[in-house]
C-alpha cells in the first residue's frame, strides 16, 4: 500500500496554513526546517501575471533515493504504508555524513556545498551522485547528474574537472575520479529517449551557436517551458565539441548521444544555418523570437606576431583540429613544433603524432606545474613520444625556400599575465635554441569571429562581445550572449555554466522582471573546513584504463576505456561525503530539511504517521482553508480526483515515482 498526497494548485491560495499547522503539530521551531514548504511562481509580464503555488512536503517516492544515499541507513520506507521515515537518532550518529563546516560564512547548513560542488561551475551534486554510484544505483545517479548537466557524456570525458582539484580526498591520498565516475554512469545506463517537454510559455528563444553554451542555455530554457531553436552554421551540432576536440578524446557517437537527448526533450537544432549577425538578428526578433542568445564561441585561431609566422608550414591550432575532424587533408611535415601549453596544444601534438609526424615538440611559456593543459593529457602525450619544453618563448620562425626550417626559442623567467591575459616575462640571456622542425602549429588562443556584427552590440578590446558581466545582456536589449564569445576561450563546463546563467536572465527578461538579482552567496572552496575522520583508510584512486600506446598512434580510437562496474563502485566509495544532506541533494524535491541549530539532524514530513492511527488525516490536510490538500491511499486518490498529473518539475526522470498527484492550475 502506498499513502500519498493530492494537491490542487488551482485551489491553493498560498496562505501557508499547512506549513504553520505542520510546524505547530510537530513542534518545529521557526527556521530553515520547513517540512511543508510552498513554492511560489510568478510568471508573465504585467498585467498578464500568472501566479501559482505548490506545497511540497515529502513525496514518499516509490524509489527512495534519499534512503539509498544515506550512509547511516537512517531513512527507510515503511512496507505497510509506503511512508518514508527518518530515524533522527541514527541520522548523524556516525561521522560519515556532514563533516563539512562553512563557519565564517553566512550560509545556512543546508545551503553549504562540498568543496567539489562549490568548485564545479554548474554545481553538480557530486557527493550525492557518488553515493548513488557506490550503492550501484547508476540510473538514479544519471538522473541526478542530468538535473543540472546538459552534456553528461561530454563532461564525463573532456571536462577540466576543477572539482577534482578541490576534492578533499586529496588530504588522505588522491582526489576522487569525479569526472570518470560521471562518464561511467552515462556510458553504462542504457539511454532512454526522454519525453518531449511541453511548451508552457508563450515565448520562443533563438540561440545562435550549438556549442556547450548554447545547448546548456537551451536545456534550461526548454525546461522552463520556452520553445527553443538553435541555429548552427556548421554541419554538425556541438560547437568545438564536434568540430575541434579530437576523436581520441571525444568520439562522435558519444557527443551525438547527448545531443540526441537534448533534441528529444524538444530543442530544435537547425544545422547548416548561419545567422547573419547584422540584419539577421533583426529578422529573428521580427520572426517572433522574444530573445536572441549569441553563443558563437571563439573559433579564430591566433598566431604569434613574430617573423616567419606566415610561412608555408605554419598552421593555426584550431583550424588544424577542425580540418582533421572534418576530414580535410592537412599538410603536415615530419617534424612538428606546437607552440602553446593548453589542451588545444596537446590535442594538436597528439593528433600530429596520429597523422604520422615522427617528432613532435610542444613549447610553452608556462613552467610544467602551471601548464593549463590537463595533467593526464600531458602524461598521455609523453607516453606517445611527445616532448614537452617549458618556460620557452619563440622569437622567430626560420625560413628555407619560403618554407619553415625551424623555430628559435629562448628561456624565460618571471612569467605573469595581465587581466587581458597578455603575458609579460624576462628572457634569460644566452639561452637561444633552435627546434629543427618543418611544421609549426600555433595553439596560443582563439578569438571570436564577429564579422558583420550589428553595430549596436558592443565588443571588448580583446575582441569578444561586451555583455553585462552580471546579466549577460548585450548593449541591445533582448540580445544576450554566453560562452567563449563573451569570455574568450574557456572550457566546456565554463561555457555550460555561462549558458545556464544566460538562460536564467533570459527568463527574467521574458517575464518582464528586473534583470538584476541579489549577488549569490559565494564561498571560496579553500575556506571550507572538512573534518576528515581519523580512521579513513588510505585507498588509491582507480586508474582509468587506457588503450596501449601502439594502438593509439595508429588511429583516433578513444584512449580512455572507461571503468568497469567494480572499479566505479570502488572509486565512488572513496568519496568522503563531505557535505551532509546527501539525502536533500538526491531528493528531486529537496524534501529533507535541516534546522540550523541542530546542524545535520534531518527532519522531514512523515505524513503525520500517528494521526492515521486515530483515523485522522495529516494536519496540513485538515488545516488547508481552501481544501487544496488531501491525503490517502494513492490509488484511491487517483480515482477520487480523476484528472491529475504527476508532480511538476520532475518529468525528466522515469525512475522516481512521487506519491503525490497534482491538479495543475489552468493558465
Amino acid at each position: 500500500m502506498q499513502l500519498g498526497f493530492y494537491f490542487d494548485q488551482s485551489r491553493c491560495t498560498g496562505c501557508f496554513a499547512c506549513a504553520i499547522a505542520c510546524k505547530d503539530w510537530h513542534d518545529v521551531p521557526a527556521g530553515p526546517a520547513r517540512w511543508m514548504r510552498l513554492l511560489y511562481q510568478e510568471e508573465g509580464k504585467f498585467p498578464k501575471v500568472f501566479v501559482s503555488h505548490m506545497a511540497t512536503p515529502c513525496y514518499h517516492c516509490t524509489e527512495t533515493v534519499c534512503a539509498y544515499v544515506c550512509p547511516n541507513e537512517a531513512i527507510t520506507k515503511r512496507y505497510e504504508d509506503g511512508i518514508v521515515v527518518v530515524d533522527r537518532e541514527k541520522c548523524r550518529e556516525e561521522k560519515t555524513c556532514g563533516i563539512i563546516s562553512g563557519e565564517g560564512t553566512d550560509l545556512l547548513y543546508a545551503e553549504q556545498e562540498a568543496p567539489c560542488q562549490v568548485s564545479c561551475p554548474v554545481h553538480l551534486h557530486i557527493p550525492a551522485y557518488s553515493a548513488l554510484i557506490a550503492k550501484g544505483r547508476f540510473k538514479e545517479a544519471l538522473d541526478l547528474i542530468r538535473r543540472r548537466m546538459p552534456l553528461p557524456s561530454v563532461c564525463g570525458r573532456v571536462c577540466l574537472h576543477p572539482c577534482e582539484t578541490e576534492c578533499r580526498r586529496k588530504d588522505v591520498e588522491e582526489p576522487v575520479a569525479i569526472m570518470d565516475l560521471k562518464g561511467f554512469v552515462v556510458d553504462n545506463v542504457p539511454q532512454e529517449i526522454p519525453d518531449r517537454l511541453p511548451q508552457t510559455q508563450p515565448d520562443s528563444v533563438a540561440i545562435v551557436g550549438s556549442g556547450p553554451a548554447g545547448l546548456a542555455a537551451g536545456y534550461d530554457l526548454i525546461r522552463m517551458g520556452y520553445a527553443v531553436t538553435v541555429f548552427e552554421s556548421g554541419p554538425v551540432a556541438g560547437g568545438m565539441l564536434s568540430t575541434a576536440i579530437p576523436e581520441h578524446r571525444l568520439p562522435r557517437e558519444v557527443l551525438k548521444r547527448d545531443i540526441d537527448y537534448l533534441e528529444a526533450v524538444g530543442i530544435e537544432i537547425r544545422i547548416n544555418t548561419r545567422v547573419d549577425l547584422g540584419r539577421g538578428l533583426d529578422d529573428l526578433l521580427n520572426k517572433g523570437y522574444g530573445v536572441v542568445l549569441l553563443a558563437l564561441g571563439a573559433s579564430k585561431g591566433e598566431k604569434l606576431d613574430i617573423s616567419g609566422a606566415d610561412l608555408k608550414g605554419t598552421l593555426a591550432g584550431v583550424s588544424f583540429m577542425q580540418d582533421i575532424k572534418s576530414g580535410k587533408t592537412t599538410e603536415l611535415g615530419e617534424k612538428v613544433l606546437v607552440i602553446g601549453g593548453g589542451n588545444v596544444a596537446i590535442d594538436c601534438a597528439r593528433s600530429a603524432r596520429r597523422l604520422g609526424a615522427n617528432t613532435v615538440h610542444v613549447a610553452c611559456l608556462e613552467c610544467r606545474e602551471d601548464m593549463p593543459a590537463e595533467d593526464s593529457e600531458i602524461k598521455q602525450a609523453e607516453e606517445e613520444g611527445i616532448e614537452i619544453h617549458c618556460s620557452l618563448t619563440s622569437s622567430r620562425v626560420l625560413e628555407n625556400n619560403g618554407k619553415v626550417a625551424g623555430v628559435e626559442c629562448q628561456e624565460i623567467e618571471g612569467l605573469q599575465f595581465d587581466e587581458n591575459g597578455q603575458p609579460s616575462f624576462e628572457v634569460v640571456k644566452d639561452t637561444g635554441h633552435v627546434f629543427d622542425v618543418d611544421t609549426v602549429i600555433f595553439a596560443i588562443g582563439q578569438v571570436p569571429d564577429l564579422s558583420g556584427l550589428s553595430g549596436d552590440i558592443k565588443t571588448s578590446p580583446t575582441g569578444t562581445i561586451a555583455a553585462d558581466s552580471e546579466t549577460f545582456v548585450t548593449a541591445r536589449r533582448g540580445i544576450f550572449s554566453a560562452g567563449d564569445v563573451m569570455n574568450g576561450p574557456t572550457s566546456v563546463v565554463d561555457a555550460i555554466a555561462s549558458g545556464q546563467k544566460a538562460a536564467f536572465f533570459i527568463n527574467r527578461h521574458l517575464q518582464g522582471d528586473v534583470l538584476q538579482v541579489q549577488p549569490e552567496k559565494t564561498i571560496d572552496p579553500k575556506d571550507i573546513t572538512v573534518d576528515i575522520p581519523a580512521d579513513v583508510e588510505k585507498r588509491p584512486r582507480q586508474l582509468m584504463p587506457t588503450l596501449p600506446v601502439n594502438e593509439r598512434l595508429s588511429s583516433f580510437k578513444e584512449v580512455a576505456l572507461g571503468f568497469s562496474e567494480a572499479e566505479a563502485i570502488k572509486e565512488a566509495e572513496r568519496c568522503l561525503n563531505c557535505a551532509g544532506h546527501l539525502c536533500k541533494d538526491a531528493c528531486p524535491y529537496s524534501s529533507p530539511q535541516f534546522a540550523d541549530e541542530e546542524k545535520a539532524r534531518m527532519q522531514k514530513c512523515d505524513l503525520c504517521i500517528e494521526r492515521w492511527a486515530d483515523g485522522k488525516k495529516p494536519i496540513c490536510v485538515e488545516a488547508c482553508p481552501p481544501h487544496a490538500l488531501d491525503a490517502g491511499i494513492i490509488d484511491e486518490l487517483k480515482v477520487k480526483y480523476g484528472e491529475v498529473t504527476e508532480a511538476h518539475n520532475f518529468n525528466y526522470s522515469r525512475i522516481i515515482q512521487p506519491s503525490i498527484i497534482t491538479k495543475p492550475k489552468q493558465r
Partner: protein, 738 residues
C-alpha cells in the same frame, strides 16, 4: 480552568476555543493542553468537512503568540525617556495607585475633558475595555475618538444609501451568482468571513467567472480571478461612473427596479451623462484617470449589466482614501441600476458585508454609562454631517493633531493624559512621527497590551493583558457567520496578566466605586447569553453551548440583505428618510457641501494624488493594506508567521529598474512626514506607479529617525475624508536604494 473535551490517554486535554482578533474571521480552535501548557492546535473538526470553519495561518500560529518570549507579564513603570523602552516592574497596587493619583491630579487641574481614552484589539463580549470606559465615565468622563480606522467610508456610504449596516449575504449565496466582481476585495488575505474563501473556490469550480479589480494582483485574484483589471488607486469612483455611463447610454439599466426601490437615479444619471457638469463620464474620460483601457471598462459594464444575477463585491480598503466613501456609494448605485439588490446571487455593496446572524456588531457587553463630557453636545444619531460628530470627539485619525493643537486648533479638548486600552494607536493611526510629538507632549499615558508595543514605549504605566487562551469569553464572527462562539479558557494566565474587564473593575475599586461589579466572569457570560435575543433564540442551554464552543445557526436559506424590502416593499421600507434606497440623498443635499454631494461622484483629491504637484518630488502612490500575517499590529514578530511572509514593499519592475532596485534590496521609502527602511519585493503583481507596504509592522526609529521597523504610518497622513474615512491611501512617496 473549565470546559474540556474528551480527555485523552496521554493526559492531554482538548479545550475548545476561538480566536478573538480584530480580523475578518472567527475560527474554532481545538487547543491541546498538557500539564497546563498548550502543546498544539487542531482546527474545526465539524463532521461535514466542507462546512468546517478552518482557521487561517494566523490562528494556526497562535501558540507562538501566546508563549512569545516578549509577552508582557507584569505591570511596569517607565524609568527612561519616553520611547526608549526602559521600564521597571512594579506591583499592580503601585501601578493602579499611580494611575489613580494622576487621574485625580489631571481632573483637578484641567478637568475630565483632558483625559483621552481609546481602545481596540480584543473582540469579545466581556473582556473588552467597556468596564474601563464605564469607570472613567463614573469618574466624571473623558474625551473619546470618533470613528474606526478600517471602515468609516463604507459605514457612511451605507448609512446614506440604506440606513442600515447589515448589507451582506451568506457566503454560500456566492454560488447563486453568474458573475462575481471583486472590486478591491481580497478575502484570502483579510479573511472576510472564515468560510469566505472556500465558498469562493466552490464558485470558481462551479464555473462562475470571477473578475478582480484593484491596484494589486492580490492572493484572491491570483487564486480565483479569470481576469485582473489593474487600476490606479483612488480612481475607482471614476471607473464606476464610466461603467454607469455605458449602462445608461446602452439602456441596460433596470428602470423598473430603480423606479420601485430607489430615489434620485435621474440625478445620478445627469451627473454621469454630463448634464450636471458638462463632462460626459465616458470610458475614455475614465481611462485617462484610472488607467484602465476604455474598451475594458465598456466590456465590463455590458457584462455586468447583462449577466443576472451578478455579484459586485466592494470592500473597505479603497474607501480609506481622500474621498473613499464615493467608491462605496458608486458601487451601491451600480448594483441598484442592475437590479441586483435583495436577490440571491446579487449583492447590496457598501463594503461591510455583514449579516445579522451572530454578527460581531451585535455582541453584548456590560451595560455602559453615558460619558458626562459629551453631555449637552449636538445630537449625532443618524447624522451624515461629520462635523457634528466631531464637536465632542476627535476623529480617530486626527488625534495626534488634536493632542498637539487642542482647543486653540478647533479641537474639542486640550488633552493632558491618554489611556490606550490596547489598540497600539501610535502605530495604527496616520502620521506616526506626529504621534510621537503628540505623545511626548502629554503629562501621563497608560497603555495595556500583551506586548510592549510602540505605543507602550511612550507610556508611563503599562499593564499586562491576557490572551484569549487565558480567559472565558463569548466571541462572534465578523462579517459573515452564521454562528456563535464560546471561547473556553485553556490555560492559567501567564504572569500577572489581567483582562481589560478586570483592569476596569480594578480601577473602579481603586476609585472607590463600590458595587461596580457584582458578577464573576461566568455569571456575566451567563447573563449575556440569557439576555441577548439572539442567544435566547438559538442557545437552549448555556453549559451545552460552552462545551460545544461553536454553535452553528441553521438558516432555512442563505441570508440575502434587503430581501424583505425588495420582496415586500410596502411593509418593509428601507431605513432612510424616503424609505427607499437613496441614490440621491436629500440629507446630503441639505448639507450643501460640494465634497459630500447628494449623488455619488468621482471627486479629484486635492491632496497627494498622482496629479498633484507634489508628485514631482514623490512620484509613487502608497498603499497600506491589511497585512497577511498579522492582524493589524497584533501578531507582530511571531516567528512562524514572519518567516512565511516577511515584511516587504511591493514595487513593479517598471519602477524598480530605473531606481536600480533589485528584488530583496533594502530601500528607503520617504516623504515629508517620515522615512522608513524595508526590503523591496519586485513583483509584477502591482500596477506601476504604486508601491504597497502592509500596515501594522512595529515602529522602530533609529537615531536618525529612520523607521527600521517599516511602520507604514510614518508615511501616511492624519487626515480623513468628508465622510469620515481615514485617508490612509492618499499618500505620495519616493523610494531609493538604501
Amino acid at each position: 480552568m473549565s470546559a474540556e473535551d474528551n480527555s485523552q490517554a496521554n493526559g492531554e486535554q482538548i479545550v475548545l476555543s476561538t480566536s478573538a482578533f480584530d480580523c475578518g474571521g472567527r475560527c474554532p480552535l481545538r487547543v491541546h493542553v498538557k500539564d497546563g501548557v498548550i502543546t498544539r492546535i487542531e482546527g474545526d473538526d465539524y463532521a461535514d468537512e466542507d462546512k468546517q470553519l478552518r482557521a487561517c495561518w494566523r490562528g494556526r500560529a497562535y501558540r507562538h503568540w501566546i508563549y512569545h518570549p516578549d509577552r508582557l507579564l507584569y505591570p511596569m513603570k517607565r524609568i527612561g525617556e519616553r520611547g526608549t523602552g526602559q521600564f521597571e516592574r512594579v506591583t499592580w497596587n503601585e501601578a493602579m495607585d499611580t494611575i489613580v493619583s494622576e487621574l485625580n491630579r489631571i481632573k483637578e487641574t484641567y478637568g475630565n475633558g483632558a483625559i483621552y481614552y481609546g481602545g481596540g484589539g480584543h473582540m469579545g463580549a466581556l473582556h473588552t475595555a467597556g468596564a474601563l470606559a464605564k469607570a472613567l465615565a463614573m469618574f466624571g468622563g473623558y474625551t473619546a475618538g470618533y470613528g474606526n480606522i478600517s471602515s468609516e467610508g463604507a459605514v457612511w456610504a451605507v448609512q446614506t444609501s440604506y440606513g442600515d449596516v447589515m448589507v451582506g449575504h451568506s457566503r454560500e449565496d456566492l454560488l447563486n451568482s453568474k458573475l462575481i466582481i471583486m472590486w478591491g476585495w481580497d478575502p484570502v488575505r483579510m479573511v472576510s468571513g472564515t468560510d469566505a474563501i472556500n465558498n469562493l473556490i466552490k464558485a470558481k469550480d462551479a464555473g462562475i467567472p470571477i473578475i478582480s479589480i484593484g491596484p494589486r494582483y492580490e492572493d484572491s485574484a491570483a487564486t480565483l480571478a479569470a481576469e485582473w483589471i489593474p487600476i490606479i488607486p483612488g480612481t475607482d469612483a471614476a471607473m464606476m461612473a464610466a461603467v454607469a455611463y455605458v449602462i445608461v447610454r446602452e439602456n441596460l439599466h433596470d428602470q423598473a427596479f430603480l423606479d420601485k426601490y430607489t430615489v434620485g437615479f435621474d440625478k445620478f444619471k445627469e451627473y454621469v451623462i454630463g448634464i450636471e457638469d458638462g463632462v460626459e463620464k465616458t470610458p475614455a474620460w475614465a481611462e485617462a484617470i484610472c488607467g484602465v483601457p476604455a474598451q475594458r471598462i465598456a466590456d465590463l459594464a455590458r457584462r455586468y449589466a447583462t449577466t443576472k444575477p451578478a455579484c459586485l463585491m466592494d470592500c473597505q480598503g479603497p474607501a480609506r482614501a481622500a474621498f473613499g466613501e464615493q467608491y462605496n456609494r458608486c458601487a451601491i448605485a451600480l448594483t441598484a441600476m442592475t437590479g441586483n439588490i435583495g436577490k440571491p446571487g446579487g449583492s447590496a455593496c457598501g463594503g461591510l458585508m455583514g449579516i445579522p446572524y451572530g454578527h460581531m456588531f451585535r455582541a453584548m457587553g456590560i451595560p455602559g454609562m453615558r460619558n458626562p463630557t459629551e453631555a449637552g453636545g449636538p445630537s449625532i444619531r443618524g447624522t451624515l454631517d461629520l462635523n457634528l460628530r466631531l464637536v465632542r470627539r476627535f476623529h480617530v485619525n486626527r488625534i495626534w493633531d488634536g493632542f498637539l493643537k487642542g482647543t486653540a486648533g478647533g479641537y474639542p479638548a486640550d488633552i493632558k493624559m491618554a489611556w490606550f486600552a490596547g489598540g497600539n494607536a501610535l502605530n495604527q493611526r496616520g502620521n506616526t512621527n506626529k504621534g510621537v510629538q503628540a505623545l511626548k507632549s502629554l503629562e501621563f499615558i497608560v497603555n495595556q497590551d500583551l506586548f510592549l508595543t510602540p505605543t507602550g514605549r511612550y507610556a508611563d504605566i503599562v499593564l499586562p493583558v491576557k490572551s484569549f487562551a487565558e480567559k472565558n469569553e463569548l466571541t462572534r464572527p465578523w462579517p459573515s457567520g452564521p454562528y456563535l462562539c464560546y471561547s473556553n479558557q485553556a490555560i492559567e494566565p501567564l504572569g500577572e496578566c489581567k483582562t481589560d474587564w478586570e483592569i476596569g473593575c480594578l480601577l473602579a475599586e481603586k476609585l472607590g466605586f463600590k458595587d461596580f461589579n457584582d458578577k464573576t466572569e461566568d455569571e456575566w457570560l451567563r447573563t449575556f447569553v440569557a439576555e441577548n435575543p439572539e442567544y435566547q433564540r438559538y442557545i437552549e442551554d448555556y453549559d451545552e453551548f460552552k462545551s460545544e464552543s461553536t454553535h452553528r445557526l441553521q438558516l432555512d436559506e442563505p441570508y440575502i440583505a434587503f430581501k424583505a424590502q425588495i420582496e415586500d416593499p410596502e411593509n418593509n421600507p428601507f431605513n432612510t428618510p424616503s424609505g427607499k434606497i437613496e441614490i440621491f440623498s436629500q440629507r446630503l443635499a441639505d448639507l450643501n457641501n460640494p465634497l459630500t454631494p447628494p449623488v455619488p461622484k468621482y471627486i479629484i483629491a486635492e491632496r497627494e494624488d498622482r496629479n498633484h504637484p507634489l508628485a514631482k518630488r514623490y512620484p509613487l502612490q502608497l498603499l497600506s493594506p491589511h497585512p497577511r500575517v498579522r492582524v493589524h499590529s497584533t501578531l507582530q514578530n511571531v516567528d512562524w508567521l514572519v518567516e512565511v511572509d516577511p515584511h516587504v514593499m511591493w514595487i513593479n519592475p517598471a519602477d524598480a529598474e530605473p531606481r536600480g532596485i533589485r528584488d530583496g534590496d533594502e530601500v528607503y521609502v520617504f516623504n515629508d512626514r517620515g522615512k522608513l527602511a524595508i526590503k523591496a519585493w519586485v513583483t509584477r503583481r502591482i500596477i506601476p506607479g504604486v508601491v504597497s507596504i502592509y500596515e501594522g509592522s512595529w515602529y522602530n526609529p533609529d537615531e536618525e529617525g529612520i523607521d527600521r521597523g517599516g511602520c507604514v504610518n510614518v508615511l501616511t497622513d492624519d487626515t480623513y475624508s468628508p465622510g469620515g474615512a481615514a485617508a490612509l491611501k492618499t499618500v505620495l512617496v519616493e523610494t531609493t536604494k538604501a
